[in-house]
């Protein structure tokens, strides 16, 4: 009796660890691009929606630099197909000639949770937009920064 109970406990452990292999993989496929613009004498914003649209306040859109939302691939090979999204609150971009700009108000599609398609490749695509804050007479240059998204499998 005592041996049996130990065995069943072992079986349960092995079963549990196989469930743990239901890992989540997130891959960044494209950057969040705010494009190019001319700053004004007043503060402004550039907003990229998660479906890739751009709107501005204060600044003047200018030039041919591409803009667009960031795109991520979510891969959950087994277990629950659902995932939860954690977006950063803000990040800082620094300029090639000095200066910095803050990016905040990150928004994603899906908004807070999604699910991979079990019927096909067990993947899903998540896109992320945000708002860039531009200071009056922001220093000219090419700005870059990074941000990290976290995806969990509940």
């Amino acid at each position: 009796m005592r041996r049996r109970s130990i065995r069943s406990a072992l079986v349960a452990l092995v079963f549990g660890s196989s469930q743990l292999l239901a890992s989540v993989t997130v891959t960044n496929d494209s950057a969040l691009q705010f494009g190019s613009f001319i700053p004004a004498s007043v503060a402004g914003t550039v907003t990229i929606t998660p479906d890739g649209q751009r709107s501005t306040t204060g600044v003047f859109p200018f030039g041919n630099t591409a803009f667009g939302a960031a795109s991520f691939s979510i891969y959950i090979p087994n277990g629950s197909p659902q995932y939860l999204i954690l977006l950063p609150s803000s990040t800082t971009m620094t300029g090639s000639n000095g200066g910095s700009m803050t990016v905040d108000t990150f928004v994603s599609i899906p908004a807070s949770q999604g699910q991979v398609n079990r019927a096909t490749t067990s993947t899903d695509t998540m896109t992320v937009g945000a708002t860039l804050h531009v200071a009056p007479s922001q220093r000219a240059g090419s700005y870059s920064g990074t941000f990290t998204v976290i995806v969990t499998n509940p």
Binding site: L13, G16, S17, L20, L21, A22, S23, V24, T25, V26, T27, N28, S30, A31, L32, Q33, F34, G35, S36, F37, I38, P39, A40, V46, F62, G63, T65, A70, F72, T91, M93, G95, G99, M101, V103, V128, A130, L132, V134, S137, Q138, R139, A140, G141, S142, Y143, S144, G145, T146, F147, T148, V149, I150, V151, T152, N153, P154
Partner: protein, 162 residues
């Protein structure tokens, strides 16, 4: 085991964020006025033209002749902005298109048309190296026996990215 489970069920990815900020376009006056020098009106009308250049030259038509002593200069400006960008130049002439002189309580006028180098128009300027000098000259129409006097007026130049 619980800790391992937690890390296996969450993942993160880092993305780049990019933006390009262009330098605003600006124009400043260089302090030199458009000056036609001293003009002698004739019995018939004529014109006097100053070229839009750093070393401006003057030419006349009709009954107009130049007298010595006056300076002949094009107005000078400096345009600054994004290196390599092209821009549009617009000239706004003096009020009513005339320069004027007030002599003994009466205002006399002469029509002035402006020319710029680079020429006014869409995308005619280029900010090679982020800057470009801009000169404004013009043509003054002097009437037959034009009233003697010191004529003046103001004009403006505006620039914008295309």
């Amino acid at each position: 085991m619980v800790l391992v489970a937690g890390s296996a069920m969450a993942a993160s990815a880092t993305a780049n964020a990019t933006a390009k900020v262009f330098q605003p376009i600006a124009i400043t006056a260089g302090g030199t006025a458009l000056s036609f020098g001293n003009i002698v009106a004739g019995a018939v009308s004529g014109t006097v033209t100053v070229t839009p250049a750093a070393s401006a030259t003057s030419s006349t038509t009709g009954g107009v002749t130049l007298a010595s002593g006056g300076s002949i200069t094009a107005a000078n400006f400096t345009v600054t902005g994004e290196t390599g960008a092209t821009y549009t130049i617009a000239l706004t002439g003096p009020t009513g298109g005339n320069v004027s002189a007030l002599v003994a309580g009466t205002t006399y006028t002469m029509p002035l048309t402006l020319t710029a180098s680079p020429a006014a128009g869409t995308g005619t300027g280029t900010l090679t190296g982020g800057t470009q000098p801009l000169y404004v000259g013009g043509t003054l129409t002097v009437g037959a026996s034009q009233q003697a006097g010191s004529y003046s007026g103001t004009f403006s130049v505006s620039v914008s990215y295309n």
